[in-house]
């Protein structure tokens, strides 16, 4: 069984990237720790995981991903490669990243508190287990029962338009599009939504296909007048995020 050296993903500033002792490139890539000028962060530093951050394990091999204690983390599998736009624990602000591995695991906080993330490559033994310390912070929670607060959108986002080719809709895409509860919460926050097939007359005549720019499925944000809510100019589509949290980030932060 090959050992795994973990090359920390991230390291946007020179000198921050650290590597575990082994020499060979890792098949399992975890996010790095947040960038700090001093001291040099180590792989064992605790990473604060809040709901707005995309913590993505990018792996070439199938893994078992667990959180301890149970119930503190929510792990979602996605098939890669995938583009993800949003904020990252080892990044600065909103950015777009491409995860190339076929096995992607999205780690989200499910409850406040410290926990340990365990990543076990399939067929691996104890020495192959990758461990990270996380501090989950959900922030203020509503009392049990009421639904989570809808996102606070950019003041001028009136519509979220998704343009897709329904003929090649993937299981990953529909995990986002099919989450009716999420879209209804978004609607309750004042942001309306609509999905179009790129071949439909409406999508073509209204310029949504043009805005998508050949990227499908594409999210096009519109203000009430059809303008780009962030710039006031032409709307520009971006790839549909892999999660509804990613859509929230777009609505909050704009394209």
């Amino acid at each position: 069984m090959r050992g795994h050296s973990v090359i920390l993903l991230g390291g946007l500033m020179l000198g921050v990237v650290t590597a575990a002792p082994a020499e060979s490139p890792s098949a399992v890539r975890l996010p790095g720790v947040p960038v700090l000028p001093q001291p040099m962060p180590s792989p064992d530093a605790v990473v604060t995981l809040s709901e707005n951050l995309n913590y993505v394990i990018d792996s070439d091999v199938e893994c078992v991903v667990l959180g301890s204690p149970k119930g503190r983390l929510k792990i979602t599998f996605e098939k890669g490669p995938l583009d993800v736009r949003g904020e990252f624990p080892d990044g600065q602000g909103v950015e777009r990243r491409t995860y190339k591995g076929p096995f992607l695991y999205f780690v989200e906080p499910a409850a406040d508190g410290a926990c340990e993330l365990l990543v076990i490559p399939k067929g691996g033994g104890e020495k192959d287990v990758i461990r990270r310390s996380l501090l989950c912070k959900l922030g203020p929670r509503p009392p049990p029962g009421p639904k989570p607060d809808p996102p606070t959108p950019l003041k001028s986002v009136a519509w979220v338009v998704v343009v897709e080719e329904t003929g090649v809709r993937s299981v990953e895409t529909v995990r986002v599009l099919g989450d009716v509860a999420y879209w209804k919460r978004l609607e309750a926050s004042g942001v309306k939504w609509r999905f179009y097939d790129k071949d439909s007359a409406d999508a073509l005549s209204k310029g949504y296909v043009r805005a998508a720019g050949g990227v499908y499925p594409s999210v096009v944000l519109l203000d009430a007048l059809g303008k780009n809510p962030a710039t006031g100019g032409e709307p520009v589509g971006v790839k549909l995020p892999a999660t509804t949290a990613g859509v929230d980030a777009l609505v909050k932060g704009g394209p």
Partner: protein
């Protein structure tokens, strides 16, 4: 010709004289998932693809009344739900109006393929404009006929196998099937399935969800057109081997991928203003 009946409901899904062709086919549209992939995804989702029983509760269950209009009502339900799932307002569409466009002026039933064509080409008027008993074109108002085009489906396609149909459901689409109603059909077993009816098919229903039984069998979750009082709050599960493997040989099962915007509805503005 009079239609056979079950509990006062005429069974108006007709076996076509020739198996319908000329429709886009699932295999032309997208990669069909394997059984293992479908089961893995359902397991990942907690054994049920969408939870549509919660999304589409009692108010969405139809009542075709004492007419052979089942196919009209399953078609209108598929169109209605597809509009809702893509962000449109919930507008109840009339199965009677859909049926009026398929029955040739007599209450002697229709075929699944007729429903696909009506949904795609003409559209279906809202229930508020066409009552359940207005099943003939002569009784449909000009206003209702003019309204149909606003509620058309977009890009339906045929699905001829269990995996093709299940893949479509897993991708979020709503489908139409034919089942064979016979004695005991309204008694559901522990998995919510009616007694087997492996005849050629005499009743049309729509399917809006997919589930996995503990034994690994795919369950096709289907609201009937016989009110909430039937079955499990108007619904039941079908299994391919028990309920659909024969009827699919005679009837063209299909799914609906999208729908057009209602030009009179609340729609997003043109990009760029």
């Amino acid at each position: 010709m009079s239609l056979p009946e079950f509990n006062g409901y005429p069974l108006g899904c007709l076996v076509p004289t020739v198996f319908p062709t000329g429709f886009a086919q699932a295999t032309d549209v997208f990669p069909v998932m394997t059984g293992d992939e479908i089961r893995a995804e359902l397991t990942r989702r907690g054994m049920v693809a969408w939870g549509r029983r919660e999304t589409f509760g009692d108010e969405w269950v139809k009542d075709q009344g004492p007419f052979g209009s089942c196919n009209g009502w399953s078609t209108s339900a598929a169109d209605e739900k597809t509009r809702f799932l893509r962000g449109g307002a919930w507008v109840k569409l009339s199965g009677a109006d859909a049926y009026s466009q398929m029955n040739g002026g007599t209450d002697n039933g229709s075929t699944l393929a007729d429903g696909l064509a009506v949904c795609r080409d003409n559209g279906i008027a809202p229930e508020e404009l066409v009552r359940v008993d207005q099943i003939y074109t002569s009784r449909i108002s000009a206003e209702a006929k003019a309204a149909r085009v606003r509620f058309r489906g977009f890009e339906p396609y045929a699905a001829d196998t269990e995996l093709e149909f299940a893949t479509g459901l897993l991708l979020g689409y709503v489908g139409i099937v034919a089942v064979h109603v016979q004695r005991g059909f309204d008694t559901l077993d522990s998995e919510g399935c009616p007694s087997s009816g492996n005849g050629p098919g005499n009743h049309s229903v729509h399917v809006d969800d997919l589930a996995l039984s503990p034994s690994g069998t795919l369950l096709f979750d289907s609201p009937n057109n016989w009110k909430v009082s039937w079955g499990d709050r108007g619904r039941c599960h079908y299994k391919w081997d028990r309920h659909l493997r024969e009827t699919v040989k005679y009837h063209r099962f299909w799914l609906l991928r999208s729908a057009v915007d209602d030009p009179k509805g609340d729609n997003p503005p043109k990009a760029g203003g």
